[in-house]
């Protein structure tokens, strides 16, 4: 097989991996913000934010990698998706700005502390919602004619994209609550445990809704799931989701097992993500722009891939190390010192 066939496939995987890393890692940080309104007081919100303060920046960097990687490997898709989804992307960026600076400003503020707490919460909620809308609009597909998007400024607005938008908010909230079970003790952990079970129910319901809706969006997705015996070897995916949900439901309230809920939620997301990607493949912009049509030349994709092979293991290594520096429970009263 020649490079211009293979490289786009590899890059589809790389970008998928980057986006998944982002969703998992920033997902739980955004989840903290989404759960912020449930914090009993400012102290508890301090505690919640402290669990992510040293690492949120690195987590967000995966989004930048997704953006830059998409520009490098699939410039056509980058140009198309971002300009077509102009308003949801704007909402996401503005929300991420407020969420991000809230980490710095909230702890420096005296009078405006509540304001930055609200900025943290609203920023996280809107960023998550916007990401869900972007995801939904992409999965739903972007009608093109002569390489130009036909949808207009509000082409992304649909019942399906609203559904995925809300689903992602709840999904991230679940990641956040399980992260808090892992990283805190006492009152904060208790709050998180109480929130986790209802969130599991809501998230499973949303996953069911989205999955049920998907095949009707597009005959292509329907075909992928139900034709040629595909259903039989794909059916473990929804089954695994249910088993996973059940395990998570049980683990959520079990004292002393603080790691299991977070790990199970990560699995949850990986499965859901796989299900969605399955619907997109081999397009980068459904329904018609394939990864090969959108790809940059092999000299571009190859050039970055060389760096990626060398640098990605290093990045994963020191990211792991920086997490391990801050491992263990985060105390309520003294932060890290």
């Amino acid at each position: 097989m020649s490079l211009d066939i293979v490289l786009p496939v590899i890059w589809f995987g790389v970008i998928g991996f980057g986006v998944l890393m982002y969703v998992l890692l920033d997902g739980f940080v955004l989840g903290l913000g989404i759960l912020a309104p449930f914090a009993e007081d400012e102290h508890q919100l301090d505690h919640m934010m402290n669990t992510a303060a040293p690492i949120w920046d690195g987590n967000e960097t995966w989004l930048v990698l997704g953006g830059a990687g998409l520009l490098a490997a699939f410039p056509k898709a980058y140009a198309l998706i971002l300009s077509a989804l102009y308003l949801p992307v704007l909402l996401m960026l503005i929300a991420l700005i407020f969420r991000g600076v809230a980490f710095e400003f909230r702890f420096k503020a005296t009078r405006a502390k509540r304001f930055w707490g609200a900025a943290f919460a609203l920023g996280s909620i809107f960023a998550a919602f916007a990401q869900g809308v972007i995801l939904g609009a992409l999965v739903e597909g972007m009608p093109l004619q002569g390489g130009k998007y036909l949808g207009g400024a509000f082409g992304w607005f649909s019942p399906f994209s609203m559904l995925t938008g809300i689903a992602v908010v709840f999904g991230y909230a679940l990641l956040g609550s399980c992260w808090l079970i892992l990283k805190t003790e006492g009152a904060t952990q208790k709050t998180a445990r109480t929130l986790t079970r209802p969130l599991v129910l809501v998230v499973v319901a949303f996953m069911g809704l989205v999955s049920a809706w998907l095949p009707f969006l597009d005959s292509r997705i329907m075909a992928r799931w139900f034709e040629g015996g595909n259903f039989w070897w794909l059916s473990p995916v929804p089954l695994l989701v249910l088993v996973n949900a059940f395990a998570l439901w049980r683990a959520a309230m079990r004292e002393g097992r603080d790691t299991a809920p977070f790990v199970l939620t990560l699995c949850f997301f990986v499965l859901g993500f796989a299900g969605l990607v399955l619907g997109i493949w081999p397009n980068i912009v459904p329904p018609a722009l394939s990864i090969w049509e959108a790809a940059s030349p092999p000299s571009s994709q190859g050039f970055v891939l060389v760096g990626l092979v060398v640098l990605l293991p290093a990045i994963l290594g020191y990211t792991y190390w920086s997490y391990s520096v801050f491992k263990g429970k985060v105390a309520t009263d003294s932060g890290y010192h």
Partner: protein, 481 residues
């Protein structure tokens, strides 16, 4: 520009100029600050003189805020190319995308991961490991500068590409990365970032000395600022001169705009240096010009009667707006000259032993503390407006690069949203920075905290009356391995 019609193009240009102008200030400041922090921590580890540690803890908080603002405004940049400049992204993504990807891979992850350790890991890792984290963050800022300036320079002086069906495709990555204007721009920018930070440090110290507070740290920092400026400012003038010659070679129209040079001179008379003028784009001349004969030739061609290509050598629609380029350049050079004079005077005063007593010099440092930022922005405008009407010089016009399918109303909405959001974010950020600076470096400065809990003393801005608490914490910090 296309008149006063609020087209997606015009609005996108305003928006891009707006968000990048805000963004660039913070990376520039943090490039310098990261190295300053590495220096401070190195001195602390070497001498165990607590003042170095206190200074580190003071500046690292300023670094954290500035870095945070750089990060959030930078994310906007990485998506802006797609939202507003879809044609540029589609046509040149195969070249710009890999350069930006390398920036993320070599710099952003490095900075972000070790920043957490740098800020909150003071007692979690060994002092050597912490120092290494600081150094890696500093190194990350340089990697980032390298790649982003390579990308920018390639758009100014493109080479190493082929055009296939209107798309730019890489032919030689070596020639793309090391394009002709890149080394000069990189040197000029890194020095600019260092000098910007240096003048903030000097200005803050001078302000403390004038008020008679934080005298010990103030004196130490001012001396370092003067010494650093004495090396960096002359180097920058040299780098700027070389960069200018490079512009003349590769972007002659930009150079002509910088000089306000409309027409050829008579042979043998050389070129004047226009000091003051109101460039008149329509009439193709300068109004109210004040010029020094032959000096232009000396500066630009390093000869008595050399000339460069005038603006009228190219058609009117190939020329950038001359006045902003002309004036931004003069602001930059003017500030550069002021910074040089202040540095020289301070060196003299230091040598004679009255640097810290001279009200004039201290006031000068205080007043010039934002000089680096203003000079840097001005220089940036020269570069970016001077390359117009092209976004990829000579190859792709800005007017052809804008997203074809975005509505003017959507761009107007985004522009207003960014303006409001940035006013809040940067207003608050600068307010918190000034608050930190006003408080100054305290003895037994506590390490920054992510916020937590009751021990408000650890929060830089809520320090108030519980310094004893901070002192206690410091004692435990000192005894920690």
């Amino acid at each position: 520009m296309d008149g006063l019609v609020l087209s997606p193009l015009l609005l996108s240009r305003i928006q891009f100029g707006f968000v990048i102008s805000f963004h660039i200030l913070f990376p520039a400041f943090t490039i310098g600050l990261a190295h300053w922090l590495a220096f401070l921590e190195w001195r602390w580890l070497r001498t165990r003189d607590a003042m170095w540690r206190d200074l580190y803890m003071f500046w690292v908080k300023i670094f954290a805020i500035s870095f945070g603002m750089g990060v959030v405004s930078g994310i906007v940049m990485s998506f802006q190319f797609g939202t507003n400049w879809a044609v540029l992204s589609e046509r040149a993504g195969s070249i710009l995308g890999p350069l930006l990807s390398y920036e993320v891979l070599t710099a952003f992850f490095l900075e972000a991961s070790f920043l957490g350790v740098m800020l909150f890991g003071w007692k979690k890792v060994s002092p050597r490991m912490h120092f290494l984290a600081t150094c890696l963050v500093a190194l990350g800022t340089l990697f980032s500068t390298f790649w982003i300036l390579s990308a920018n320079s390639w758009m100014q002086t493109p080479q190493g590409y082929t055009i296939v069906n209107g798309m730019f495709e890489p032919a030689s990555w070596w020639r793309i990365v090391f394009n002709p204007s890149f080394p000069y721009r990189l040197a000029h920018m890194v020095l600019a970032a260092f000098i910007t930070t240096c003048f903030v440090i000097g200005g803050v110290s001078a302000w403390y000395l004038r008020r008679g507070v934080h005298v010990g740290p103030g004196k130490r920092m001012l001396k370092l600022a003067v010494a650093f400026a004495a090396i960096a400012v002359p180097l920058q003038i040299l780098a700027g001169d070389l960069h200018g010659l490079n512009v003349g070679k590769h972007q002659p129209v930009k150079l002509a705009a910088i000089e306000g040079h409309w027409h050829d001179e008579e042979p043998g008379k050389g070129m004047p240096l226009v000091v003051f003028a109101l460039p008149n784009q329509k009439a193709e001349r300068n109004d109210y010009e004040i010029a020094i004969p032959r000096l232009g030739s000396v500066v630009l061609t390093h000869s008595w009667d050399g000339t460069v290509q005038p603006l009228t050598a190219v058609p009117a629609d190939e020329r950038p707006p001359v006045a902003p380029v002309f004036w931004a350049f003069r602001v930059m050079v003017g500030l550069g000259v002021l910074m040089l004079l202040l540095t020289l005077a301070s060196l003299w005063a230091w040598w004679r032993g009255w640097l810290f007593e001279s009200k004039v010099l201290l006031q000068g440092w205080r007043l010039l503390s934002p000089a680096g930022f203003i000079a840097l922005l001005s220089g940036w405008y020269v570069v970016e407006i001077g390359r117009q009407p092209y976004v990829i010089y000579g190859l792709l016009r800005t007017s052809d690069a804008v997203s074809p399918n975005i509505a003017a109303a959507a761009v107007l909405a985004s522009l207003i949203t960014y303006a409001l959001a940035y006013a809040i974010i940067f207003g608050a950020g600068i307010w918190y920075l000034l608050k930190l600076i006003r408080r100054g470096p305290l003895p037994h400065e506590p390490a920054p905290e992510p916020g937590g809990g009751d021990k408000t003393a650890a929060r830089p801005l809520s320090v108030g009356g519980d310094e004893s608490d901070a002192g206690n914490r410091n004692a435990t910090a000192e005894s920690a391995p």
